[in-house]
Symmetry: C2
Subunit: 185 residues, 2 copies
């Protein structure tokens, strides 16, 4: 199964709507359940990949999905200045199906139906390892953190270029991290 | 050659930096030369495709590029409300090389070097057809509009789902346009 942040992805309906800027921070309720961010499509987009996988091409999916990564605007601006992620940084990974033929397009891939969203949050007081990962399955409006035993935690810690995040796949931020000397792996 | 907005794309250096919100409108100088928007990476991202082409798969490039589309935030918010693009709407199409193997990634594609940027601007008083297209070649900081004879004008007019724009390739906005009944093609 395709995993980046580590959660199962289920199809759900709905699309992002405009929300006030106050929504651009992680909100928790009922303890440590993260509220699904309604306006992540208005955050700063970092990059998109198609069919990114740990698997070799011959083992990978014949129906590749797009992964779109967004980060909260305040965290983005801090990163431009420092090459580091401040407390309360939140990422959303949005996964969408790909399509090939439609309108004038005859080959290659463009984006289609939403397949799921996951989140990665830095909260130094709330989480022992500072970061936690969440999957909003089936259109849920809140999610508890994945258990620390999930591979997302160890993979991000061991392979994320900067502080548990895959900055190596975000070309404009990779340049910043190189300039600031903040690349760990 | 791969074309969406219709201009030749040349490699150039540089990356987006944070800019004040006042930069989020088209700026012209020396008559109708559009200033290259410095902060388009902080606008609202609409979608990304990989290797999108008018050509059949067997004729398409073996080295597909990513195309990333951004729109000015005020125009995006207006579209959410109306399903239409207001005057002073500006799009940027950013083209980046794709890469397949790096870090933990073994297959699929992620984004690499910047190959070029183009822009599409709606200015009802400045342009006879309301919209014009620009290519910032070789890292130029301003660009004149492509001539009306370029195929970008006729293709966007004839095939763009909403008002000269390819909303059919922007899944969240396509839902809005369907709700608002603003799809032309």
């Amino acid at each position: 199964m395709r995993k980046i942040f580590g959660g199962a992805l289920l199809l759900f309906a709905g699309c992002a709507q405009a929300q006030p800027a106050a929504e651009n921070a992680p909100h928790f309720r009922s303890g440590d359940r993260l509220q699904r961010p309604a306006n992540y499509r208005e955050w700063v987009w970092l990059s998109s990949g198609l069919g990114m996988s740990y698997l070799a091409p011959e083992e990978a999916s014949a129906n590749p999905a797009f992964d779109n990564v967004f980060v909260t605007p305040a965290a983005y601006r801090a990163f431009l200045q420092t090459g580091k992620w401040p407390d309360q940084t939140m990422f959303v990974l949005e996964v969408r199906a790909s399509q090939s033929k439609g309108s004038i397009n005859q080959s290659g891939h463009y984006q289609g139906a939403l397949m799921g969203i996951e989140a990665e949050v830095k909260d130094e007081r709330r989480f022992p390892g500072k970061w936690a990962f969440f999957g909003f399955q089936g259109g849920a409006d809140s999610a508890g953190a994945f258990p620390k035993s999930q591979s997302c935690y160890s993979c991000h810690a061991e392979h994320g270029a900067v502080d548990n995040t895959f900055v190596q796949f975000y070309p404009t931020l990779l340049e910043i991290a190189k300039q600031k000397g903040t690349i760990a792996h």
